[in-house]
């Protein structure tokens, strides 16, 4: 088992096998999303409170979930890189950041668009989940800004790992403090975005989308990490040999 782990950490090995696993994640992911989107849009029964607008949930919830999972991955990968000095872990963390930020943006955008017909406003400050998501986006920006500001890759890796680990604790605290704040200031009841109990017809496409998007995210992460590894290892011999080899891989 450890042998596999050590092998995995070897950049040329990872570079070779990543595309395979990426495909292994991509295909089932796309299939699940295809079902989730189709069923969510056309088969799931209409919500009695929100009408057809609730269907936005099929994009909003997976994005929000991924935005948080991505941050966890960033922090854990950074921690692994920091403690066990695994270069690959740092490459994963660096690749997860922009992906996570995109999904955070998507969660915020879809949440805002959903809010317009529901609450009559494009942005409801009092909604704790949207506020937490917005602050998460700031955490992502800070992380990417720190990485960008440090020229030396190894230093940037370690510094951003520390930041991500500090941020993980704070993200949780932010969530609870925003919830408390929202409970103080809620004028009207904020309509819950997901109904009290979900009809199975509504739930299955949602689960499918959550899993599907997660697999898709995994596939994108693997590919991004692969390129990141290539970039970091650009001056090594194995890269040189690979480039010069007769059958050029892309």
């Amino acid at each position: 088992m450890w042998k596999w782990f050590h092998q995995l950490a070897s950049p040329p090995h990872f570079y070779r096998i990543a595309p395979i696993f990426s495909m292994l994640l991509l295909l089932p992911g796309l299939a699940l999303i295809a079902y989730g989107v189709y069923a969510g849009l056309f088969l799931a029964p209409m919500d009695y409170q929100q009408g057809d607008a609730f269907r936005i949930i099929y994009i909003h919830v997976p994005s929000a979930y991924l935005s948080m999972m991505s941050y966890m991955i960033m922090a854990v990968a950074g921690g692994i890189g920091l403690i066990w000095r695994m270069k690959l872990a740092h490459a994963v963390a660096a690749s997860a950041a922009p992906l996570g930020a995109w999904f955070t943006f998507l969660a915020l955008a879809t949440g805002s668009i959903w809010g317009r017909p529901m609450w009559g406003t494009w942005w409801e400050w009092a909604d704790p989940r949207m506020m937490s998501e917005l602050i998460l986006l700031f955490f992502y920006f800070g992380y990417m800004a720190l990485r960008g500001a440090i020229d030396d890759t190894a230093k940037a890796d370690k510094a951003s790992a520390v930041l991500a680990l500090v941020g993980v604790v704070n993200v949780i605290i932010v969530h609870y403090s925003v919830e408390w704040w929202s409970s103080l200031h809620q004028g009207q009841t904020i309509m819950a975005k997901d109904g009290p109990a979900m009809d199975p017809g509504m739930l299955y496409p949602l689960l499918a989308n959550i899993f599907g998007f997660t697999l898709l995210f995994g596939s994108l992460l693997l590919r991004r990490t692969r390129t990141e590894v290539l970039f970091r290892e650009r001056r090594t011999r194995w890269v040189k040999e690979m480039i010069l080899a007769p059958e050029g891989q892309s």
Partner: protein
């Protein structure tokens, strides 16, 4: 040179020595202490100018405005936490000293709080009165600011350690610290608002205390790690 027969100074002595040095340096440069305070006062002046000085507006927005201004003033003062030591090489000396680095960081952070957080707390009643804040609410304000600025100094030291020596570190520092300081801001400002509205506010005080204690125990380690990384 160190005589191996003699005892190494204890950790508390080391911490006090580091803090004392910073306090002496701050004494020689009063601007470092006064500038954030002036900034605090000026920001608090901006709001009535921009939004109108009606009494209800002032009492309503007072807790929030004062808290935001205090947060921004702390941000300004945090810039210089490690910079001067970095510039003249004393930071490197601190890194190789036999004193545990977390304690060194704690000492500097303590001195920082004494020269930025504490003055803010002491000046806040003056500004609070201009916002027509009643005396008992001012007490709550000072209490929340005390607890809050302690957490801010500690969290800020992590950010300052991560960005020391970086080109354009100042803007980056703000970007890093603001998300981290949001819980403190939310809880602090809203606790004062609750007090102003004659509601129970003890939950916020407990939360701020817990946060201060939590950051006090954990932040020095993160700061030490960040200092080592920044100075390789």
């Amino acid at each position: 040179m160190t005589d191996h027969g003699r005892q190494m100074p204890g950790m508390l002595v080391g911490l006090i020595a580091v803090a004392r040095r910073d306090l002496l340096l701050a004494w020689k440069r009063p601007g470092d202490v006064l500038n954030p305070l002036f900034f605090f006062a000026m920001v608090c002046t901006l709001f009535p100018l921009a939004v109108g000085p009606s009494a209800e507006q002032l009492t309503f927005s007072g807790p929030g405005v004062l808290w935001v201004a205090a947060l921004l003033a702390m941000l300004i003062s945090l810039n210089s936490l490690f910079i001067s030591d970095f510039d003249d090489g004393s930071l490197e000396q601190l890194l190789v000293s036999p004193q545990p680095l977390p304690l060194v960081g704690l000492g500097k952070t303590a001195a920082h709080w004494l020269t930025s957080g504490l003055p803010l707390v002491l000046v806040s009643p003056i500004v609070a009165i201009t916002y027509r804040m009643p005396g008992d609410v001012v007490i709550v304000l000072m209490l929340t600011l005390t607890l809050g600025t302690i957490s801010l100094s500690l969290l800020g030291s992590i950010g300052a350690a991560l960005t020391v020596g970086l080109h354009r570190g100042t803007a980056l520092l703000s970007l890093l610290i603001l998300p981290l300081s949001m819980p403190v801001l939310i809880i602090g400002a809203n606790t004062v608002s609750l007090a102003a509205g004659n509601e129970t506010y003890s939950a916020g005080i407990w939360a701020l205390s817990a946060y201060a204690v939590g950051t006090l125990s954990l932040a020095p380690y993160a700061t030490a790690a960040a200092l080592r990384i920044s100075n390789e």
